[in-house]
Amino acid sequence: MAWHKPNGLTQAMQSLRLTSAISNSSINASRPTFNALRTRTYATETEAVSIPAAAAPEIDFVSFSQKPARIIPASRAYFSGSPRFIDALLELEALQARHAGLPTVAPAEAPRMAWFKLPQFRDFVGEPVPNKKYKSLVKILQQLNRIQPEFLPADVRDTLNKFLRPGNPYSKEIVPRTVDESGLARGKAKRKESHAVVQLVEGEGEVLVNGKNIVNVFSRLHDRESALWALQATQRLDKYNVWIKVKGGGVTGQAEAITLAVGRALLMHEPGLKPVLRKAGVITVDPRRVERKKPGHVKARKMPTWVKR
């Protein structure tokens, strides 16, 4: 915190302090000359009655008491409500502008960094940062992170490291699961309340769901298609045998749980299919669940009808 320039008397004191500081320090060496100059060369009185001048006591600047008029914040974002966040953002933007010319790598090749999760970041800055704004910050972090590692300036590295969450979650290599020795891939998935386990082996298109024919389990064609979409979209329905266990939930949930599980199992057999399966939507998790009922509500959101009396 710096002291704001005070008015009036204080200002005068301040200037006095400044000048005296100057005379104290820089001009100290030439003081004798000054004194000599100051000495009057003519006399109006007799020399004998000269009274030695008593110097004013020196001002003790250490205990100099001065009240500032008001305090100016160090950061311009002080009154914005989330100054630390905005400072961080400005700092990153400045870095980004400074290093805009550096070569970058593709997003997929950039080193994987575990940035703060939103609650952690809020703790870090101690401010209620909205999700959207934090996302924009993470976006800049990602862009800075894409600078080619060999050209990465030290200041950028240090700044980026500030936003890493403690512990390195990406330190251990994730080993993709593969087909076991008997050629069987096992995929698990959930959707809504359903849970499916799929075992996929190379075969000629036989499908069993809970030991039954798929037609008996999913009477709707739509659900059957959903369940086997991973194989259908890649034209591998007649190249694998599928053995499915599914439980919980309703028909749609079961079918779509199988969709995801089959997609995952197929990915173990043929990792090269990943882009296609991603496009087909069969390895994308649908995390939606039934919204809980809240007290005071009739259902999750529905409110009781309002009655005047």
């Binding site: 000629e204 036989e206 499908v207 008996n216 064609l221 259908q232 007649d238």
Partner: protein, 422 residues
């Protein structure tokens, strides 16, 4: 909405779609093509003159998807060819003629596996071979208490007649087999029918039952006696023609294996086996040559509106076990659980007989093979209903999606409208 309109809409059967393309060179079902294994997997058209006969015996069901094609046709699948050979045998033709043989089959299988269409194909073959075709298109109608019933005095336990149902059966049979019945003359004595003119045809005999439901049961008994007669009675030899083999089909057998919706005087449920009509057809399944002139009994189960009686499933399991060679004393032999209350009458009726003359067989219809499915889909494509190019892989996909070639599901997939097929 007018009364009965909804029901009429439900029961409406459309056999032709004029928008579908006419298929050049479509082969019809005939005595030759029905046993031709080279044609396996192709869709054979039902001969146009036969359509009315098949309609008369109510062979078509509303939801079998006839309405999207130009004309009705059925796939010649393995089971069809086997049945064709059997029909040929019983007619006394083919490689191993066995004239007078009676084959009794219970047709089982998954929903949509083609049980009813199998019956239809049997009827078409029987018509081709000039058999007498007697059908019960929906077994449920006999036990759902929708048709009148009267008790027969002096029977114990009390038995019941359904005069209107019998009358309808006679009507169906005459309409479908008119030409054949017009040639057959009455050859037995029928003291219960004094109004019967001597020397009248079987058609005229059956017609007696149309007009007066009160005597329809007696007429039916006489009619049956005539059809199963192997020789004329004394004094009636003139103009006797050997009776043709018979095809008897029943669809929805499970309804006959439990208690009916009818009530007796004490308001207890009447067992389906106490209905004369039902009892007559079920008695044909018993040991021995129930059809004296040979023929085929095809009793199919149905999974739409299925009462699913426990006793029937055990009985069918027993038949399967018997066919697999498991003896009744072995521990694997299916038995009802204690206190399960499985219907003894049903178990007794369908008991697999040792060394029976013509035992009941259980025929389970599975899905069709990929090759047959391909032929089926080519029929769709030729009718202009499919725009995709049909490859083995394409067919294989549908085969898997249909639960292994369940033909009803294949048909649903075929009529599926997809803008851009994968």
């Amino acid at each position: 909405m007018a009364p009965g309109e909804r029901r009429a809409l439900k029961k409406r059967i459309v056999l032709s779609n004029p928008n579908a393309l006419e298929i050049e060179g479509m082969v019809d079902l005939s005595a030759e093509t029905m046993v031709d294994s080279r044609l396996r997997g192709t869709v054979l058209g039902l001969p146009m003159p036969m359509i009315d006969q098949l309609r008369a015996v109510e062979a078509f069901k509303p939801k079998q998807g006839w309405s999207i094609f130009r004309r009705p046709g059925t796939v010649l699948r393995r089971d069809t060819i086997e049945m064709g050979r059997l029909v040929e045998q019983i007619s006394g033709e083919g490689d191993k003629p066995q004239k007078g043989k009676v084959a009794k089959k219970i047709i089982n299988g998954m929903k949509g596996s083609g049980k009813s269409v199998h019956l239809l194909q049997a009827m078409a073959m029987a018509f081709l071979k000039k058999w007498v075709v007697i059908t019960v298109p929906d077994a449920r109608e006999l036990v759902c208490a929708n048709t009148a019933y009267t008790a027969v005095e002096g029977t114990k336990p009390l038995q019941y007649i359904q005069p209107n149902a019998v009358s309808a059966l006679l009507k169906r049979t005459v309409e479908a087999n008119r030409e054949l019945l017009a040639e057959l003359k009455v050859s037995q004595n029928h003291p219960s029918l004094p109004m019967l003119q001597p020397g009248s045809t079987l058609e005229e005999l059956a017609k007696l039952g149309f007009a007066d439901p009160a005597i329809s049961w007696a007429v039916f008994q006489a009619f049956w006696a005539e059809l199963t007669a192997s020789a004329p009675a004394a004094g009636l030899e003139k103009g006797f023609v050997p009776r043709p083999p018979m095809l008897v089909t029943v669809d929805g057998l499970a309804h006959w294996m439990t208690e009916s919706e009818y009530r007796d005087a004490d308001y207890n449920k009447i067992h389906a086996h106490d209905l004369y009509f039902v009892k007559h057809f079920l008695s044909l399944l018993k040991e021995g040559d129930s059809l004296k002139n040979g023929g085929l009994l095809l009793y199919a189960t149905s999974l739409s509106n299925n009462p699913n009686p426990l006793a029937l499933s055990i009985a069918l399991d027993r038949l399967t076990a018997h066919q697999a060679g498991i003896s009744a004393s072995s521990p694997e032999y299916p038995n009802p659980a204690a206190y399960s209350g499985a219907d003894e009458r049903v178990l007794e009726l369908l008991k697999p007989a040792e060394k029976a003359i013509s035992p009941v067989e259980l025929q389970t219809l599975e899905g069709i093979t990929r090759d047959e499915a391909r032929g089926f889909y080519e029929y769709f494509a030729l009718s202009g209903l499919l725009r995709d190019s049909i490859t083995d892989q394409w067919v294989g996909q549908r085969w898997s999606l249909s639960g292994g070639g369940i033909i009803g599901e294949l048909e649903k997939l075929g009529r599926r409208f997809r803008a851009a097929s994968a």
